[in-house]
Symmetry: C3
Subunit: 351 residues, 3 copies
Amino acid sequence: MTRPSYTLSEITARLGGEWRGEDVRISAVQPLSQAQAEHIGFLANPKYKAEVAESLAGAVIVSAKAAAEFPQRNLIIAADPYLYFAKVARLFSPIVEAKGGIHPTAVVEPNAIVPPSCEIGAHVYIGEHTVLGERCRILAGSVVEQNCTLGDDVLLHPNVTVYHGCTLGKRVEIHSGAVIGADGFGLAFAGDSWFKIPQTGGVRLGDDVEIGSNTNIDRGAMSDTVIGEGTKIDNQVQIGHNCIIGKHTVIAAQTGISGSTTIGSYCIFGGGVGTVGHIEIADKTTVGGGTSITHSIKESGQHMAGPYPMQTHKEWARNAVHIRRLSEMNKRIKVLENQLGTADTQTDPAE
Amino acid sequence: MTRPSYTLSEITARLGGEWRGEDVRISAVQPLSQAQAEHIGFLANPKYKAEVAESLAGAVIVSAKAAAEFPQRNLIIAADPYLYFAKVARLFSPIVEAKGGIHPTAVVEPNAIVPPSCEIGAHVYIGEHTVLGERCRILAGSVVEQNCTLGDDVLLHPNVTVYHGCTLGKRVEIHSGAVIGADGFGLAFAGDSWFKIPQTGGVRLGDDVEIGSNTNIDRGAMSDTVIGEGTKIDNQVQIGHNCIIGKHTVIAAQTGISGSTTIGSYCIFGGGVGTVGHIEIADKTTVGGGTSITHSIKESGQHMAGPYPMQTHKEWARNAVHIRRLSEMNKRIKVLENQLGTADTQTDPAE
Amino acid sequence: MTRPSYTLSEITARLGGEWRGEDVRISAVQPLSQAQAEHIGFLANPKYKAEVAESLAGAVIVSAKAAAEFPQRNLIIAADPYLYFAKVARLFSPIVEAKGGIHPTAVVEPNAIVPPSCEIGAHVYIGEHTVLGERCRILAGSVVEQNCTLGDDVLLHPNVTVYHGCTLGKRVEIHSGAVIGADGFGLAFAGDSWFKIPQTGGVRLGDDVEIGSNTNIDRGAMSDTVIGEGTKIDNQVQIGHNCIIGKHTVIAAQTGISGSTTIGSYCIFGGGVGTVGHIEIADKTTVGGGTSITHSIKESGQHMAGPYPMQTHKEWARNAVHIRRLSEMNKRIKVLENQLGTADTQTDPAE
């Protein structure tokens, strides 16, 4: 298990960019504050310039603009130092290749198709009529039910569950505990009890989708739930039935998207966001952590927010009581304005 | 795998209601906008009447009132079109029957009782003294520890975990990744560390309870945590130890119910709701998504709410700062009212 | 499966404290309201004194101060009745000992080290070069990938997943569905798609850490994510990459800690708390349920809060609209104050 190492010239030969100083040999990426002579650090935010001077790193990835300030250091100059750092990190930690073969404890139903290039781990279950692409890695304890289709190079970490009839694109990666295609939450009230609405749609994950640990993507009620290519979803996210999520959107942990919501491409959701169902969110919307999205966002490129501001418990208790009386407070101000003949310059959507 | 199909007269023979027009053969339910000649659609909300005219559906389920407006179409007339649609969908997608038998890779401890009508999937584990009812389906990778009792027709999807000593009623359905009976979070502070309080109660799920994917129902500390019959719980819900939840209550995804909370019957909780512990919530309470329930709700039938309103980040930043000064704002208004001799008509619980 | 029973004198001989009255034999701990003659109850909060008089309990654990009020009852007098109750409960429900041995269906890679004192359950997978301490219990369906190190007496409940390269201290207990060491959510934008940043750090859990069901502790990007000894984490908690959490901190269910957050020792987090990333939270901070932590908390020992107050939906709708106009409301008050020459005694950080 010797890890790879590369000189600066070898790195730039593979990834582009320009190197300066001594052509040192590097074995890992580290933050500037922890890097040693065999490490390469990076400066993505000029705010941390001072760390470059103090760092023991053998080399530093910087922008062309910043390079001029560090004539003494070994550098790689890159248009986007953060992206370049990510690529160097991947160089030192290449994607694990599938060891072709089915573990003797795995169960693959006779009419499933598993190419010999796939790695099927211990205690895996692959259901009937499920078809895997080349070089898939299905790790220990994962279950893929019947009638699923997986593209090439899919990676399921241990203990993932994919329900029947789901489609996963190429290079989809799903982390442990995630569940793809469980029933959507559809109920019709039958006078004294709830009648379950069969969930007969499936789930389609586009190419290069990544799904975090213990995340749920529910199957559709009649048509499919769809996640567009390149979209990245963090842990403990809930995507309700019949949601349609665009391409290259990023959703952080513990966010919940209610059923039949449509989200555009290149959106960025912080953690712990919630939405009502049956709404549309435009492309390139940014939503801060902890926001409750209560209606559609139609204009693209907006930055939304909504957490209640944290206070000390004492301040919170003193202030929060007035939340329940804001409408009244507004009226009291109006009375005063009327008494004083103050011009009421506001328009009041509430009254 | 030919899916069933039915004529309108066959459907009404089974489910009641009245059909009109041509006795067409139907093979699936679809939304009006996507339905083709072999599909049946439904009109539950008169708001969508225009879709009926445009739909290519072979037939439409409507209320008696709406029926008069569509003399040209093939109809099924039902008292509750949405519920009727759900029942038709079930007709086309019948509940899967257990294939009796224990998979050779499953482990069933010798003194567990598993009737031959049960379907025990690959890599399932059934612990000592656990007793299953007839026709249970325990799918791949699920674990039911020792001393559990499962009623007839229980369905555990893949990778479910049921801890020891839990009781599941008839027709309970539990989705993948859900965990029933993990230890409640009980700790006593011991001066410099936390002493774990043994959780010696169990969990009881009533008949027809459905538990969503990656949901947790913790076992009780001394007595049981109880979920009443017909209650439906969505994904990623957390039910703390010793909660008592009534019958036919519905709880949407990512809601968290703190320990020792009692919730009535026929309540409806939106997603992402949180509660403090040791409170009571009356029957038929509706709670909107994202609400923090901070005290008991004693009067039944109320509709509660509480998410912070979403704004653009700029507006949020400008307004949120005043949340921390609402009490002061209230006092400033009072000063003005006193100066002007304005009658202060409010009662102020905060001061 | 006869459960143990003890007389009051046997209990105090083991746990300290003083007994009074008759030396009755006790077989379980129960709440005062449910206890029978063979049970012992406890009075931790003087508010519930009346329950002692009414209880059928064979004996009651009380403080020295409360003891004087119950001369007729069989008592154990303890400095901290709640902690004493927890210890008595443990006496009646001792920690289960490992049954040494590897289940025939488990897969242990040849170069993993599993001492004979360990209990390895059905369908467990232990990866290459993983080393277990003495008396570990790894229950059915759990997966521990390669290169992990587990201390003595670690307990993994069924269907736990530990990714490669993680370190678990002594007596660590992890509940079902929890995932330790999945990739942190690190992405660099590459112009039209997201480039995944390899997550090459690990996770270190200190001695006596407990991790709840379906909780995630992500591995670090370059260095480790660390949970200090004695820290207790409830269900469905998300700990992002490179978080450093101190000792004996308690985090309730559904809380989300964003990446690179540092949390001190002896903190108490309620349920459903969220934090932004890259902040520091001082020792002994208490955070109420549902709070969004948007910045560092530098002074230790504070009690923070932040849920939006629940209202009826009608009140909420009437009041919430004014949240979006608080800044304007503040300005209107200022105008009135200026008109009246009222001294503006506030300092206004917002304008």
